[in-house]
């Protein structure tokens, strides 16, 4: 499978936080969700791909090109949507688009106007007068108007109401189906990923927990539940986290089939959702 992004051994250290040895691939023509709790390192990874922050080690290749050595070629292929759009707030949308369009050889003004109409945005509107959702739509219109091969979005659905989120995700899905684009977007809203992502990379405390096809994750990960003290986390194969309540213990496993085969008495086996996985690993007693 051809990769749109290849990340190897990426490292970035801040005071009190380190992104360490981050390695994963984003296959071309698919949607990958970068998931993790707040402060896990999702934005740092996206900023490192865009070379907005300086990496301390590792390598990022976008369509086979190093993102620093071939910075302008790489960025010409990316449509980037920030978590908080960074445009001068007192300008009209048309002025911002006019200033940005000159940088992209493949800018399609007819497509941009079509997207603006589709998103019900007028080029005469002033950026600061837009709601957060409208700002995100404008950023997306800019990102899509230059026929980018890779759409990179940092928390695009955060702060949006469910209707806006659904519309945005539908748009992303259509983009993949119609044009074979690649999308990498970060989110802590697991339901968004379950709805559209083909692959999921889970990051926690600056380290990659897994990076796999979503369907494989949802098939293989599970939660084992048992009442009382009959279950110990060590009884469950591939235990990755546990949560004890007053009357029961729940254990997250990355190999539900093996857990089922281990014949744990009085246990209930369920498939884990992405939300379960995120919760157990970030809030429960995580097991490496």
């Amino acid at each position: 499978m051809e990769n749109a992004i290849e990340i190897r051994g990426l490292r970035k250290e801040y005071k009190g936080f380190a992104l360490d040895d981050v390695t994963f691939d984003v296959p071309r023509g698919y949607i990958m969700g970068l998931i993790g709790p707040n402060g896990a390192g999702k934005t740092t990874v996206i900023k490192l791909i865009m070379n907005l922050i300086r990496r301390q080690a590792g390598e990022v290749r976008v369509f086979g090109l190093d993102n620093i050595r071939h910075e302008s070629e790489v960025k010409a292929k990316i449509g980037f949507v920030y978590d908080v759009p960074r445009f001068p707030e007192d300008l009209r949308l048309g002025t911002i688009a006019s200033a940005v369009s000159g940088f992209y050889g493949k800018w399609d003004d007819r497509r941009f106007r079509g997207l603006m109409e589709e998103f019900e945005l007028s080029p005469r509107r002033v950026f600061k007068k837009l709601s957060h959702g409208m700002k995100m739509k404008f950023s997306l219109a800019l990102a899509l108007a230059h026929d980018a091969d890779l759409i990179l979005m940092d928390e695009p659905t955060a702060g949006l109401d469910p209707a806006f989120r659904f519309e945005l995700l539908t748009k992303l899905r259509a983009l993949i189906q119609d044009e074979r684009k690649t999308v990498l977007f970060s989110s802590h809203i697991t339901s968004d990923l379950e709805r559209v992502a083909d692959f999921v990379t889970f990051i926690h405390k600056g380290r990659i927990v897994f990076s796999e096809a979503k369907d494989d994750i949802l098939d293989s990960w599970g939660v084992v539940r048992a009442a009382g003290d009959s279950l110990r986390p060590t009884d469950v194969p591939e235990a990755r986290g546990a949560r004890r309540s007053e009357h029961s213990l729940e254990v997250l496993t990355s190999d539900l089939a093996a857990a089922r085969r281990s014949a744990i008495p009085n246990a209930v086996f369920d498939k884990a959702s992405l939300e379960d996985i995120m919760f157990f690993i970030s809030k429960g007693n995580a097991h490496a």
């Binding site: 900023k47 865009m50 070379n51 907005l52 922050i53 300086r54 910075e71 302008s72 070629e73 790489v74 960025k75 010409a76 980037f80 920030y82 960074r86 445009f87 001068p88 707030e89 007192d90 300008l91 002025t95 006019s98 200033a99 940005v100 000159g102 940088f103 992209y104």
Partner: protein
């Protein structure tokens, strides 16, 4: 780089016009008061040359558009070059505007020929290069806060120098020496004969100072996390 200059213009055209309108009033006052073409051109160009780039960079800090610039398909080194180019465009705009006002205002005491002399233009550009060589790298690396850091650093350095002077029994002498050296340097530049050698040294100085400032700024900007 032209695309970046166009973007800066489109993003800041309103501020550009406001600054020129405000400075027009001061210039109209200055052409009637100041009699030395050299002093006039240096001070007024410096005001426009400082006013416009810092208004642009202030907005860049306010709206965090540095991240937008660096997400566009341009190299960081080109972004730095464009900032220098924008600054010099502002300086040249200031110079042009000065010449225009000197020529059209009926109460101007400044002879147009004095403003347009090669020596006055080069002295003016040299002094601005020296100033920007110190200020721009700080601003490019740290944003508008860089200016505050620089000014606060200079204040603290002055205080420390004064205190050391008091303690060592020569209150104010180092500062006095510094200011006298600056004064002598300015007088030397303004009153030196416009010989070919002097003009060539000035031109070489302008190029060297700017190249050095660009190299330092590029190295600093490459380290900036946005």
């Amino acid at each position: 780089m032209l695309k970046l200059l166009r973007l800066e213009y489109l993003f800041n055209v309103r501020q550009l016009l406001i600054i020129l309108a405000i400075f027009s009033l001061y210039f109209a006052y200055a052409v009637n008061r100041v009699e030395s073409p050299g002093v006039f051109i240096v001070t007024t160009s410096l005001m426009v040359g400082l006013g416009i780039p810092f208004a642009i960079m202030g907005r860049e800090d306010k709206f965090k558009t540095a991240a937008l610039l660096c997400s566009l398909p341009v190299r960081r080194s080109t972004v730095v070059l464009s900032k220098f180019a924008a600054t010099w465009a502002a300086i040249l705009l200031g110079l042009g505007y000065n010449v225009f006002l000197t020529a059209v205002l009926p109460f101007s005491k400044i002879p147009l020929g004095g403003v347009l002399s090669v020596k006055n233009l080069l002295v003016s550009l040299f002094l601005m290069s020296m100033l920007f060589a110190v200020i721009l790298p700080f601003t490019i690396r740290f944003g508008f806060v860089g200016i505050i850091i620089l000014l606060t650093g200079c204040q603290l350095l002055g205080i420390v120098t004064l205190l050391l002077g008091q303690l060592l029994g020569g209150a104010g002498i180092p500062l006095r020496l510094f200011f006298r050296a600056v004064e002598r340097g300015l007088k030397f530049l303004l009153h030196h004969q416009a010989t070919t050698g002097f003009l060539l040294v000035l031109a070489a100085g302008i190029i060297a100072v700017n190249l050095l400032a660009i190299l330092v700024s590029r190295a600093l900007y490459a380290r900036r996390d946005l």
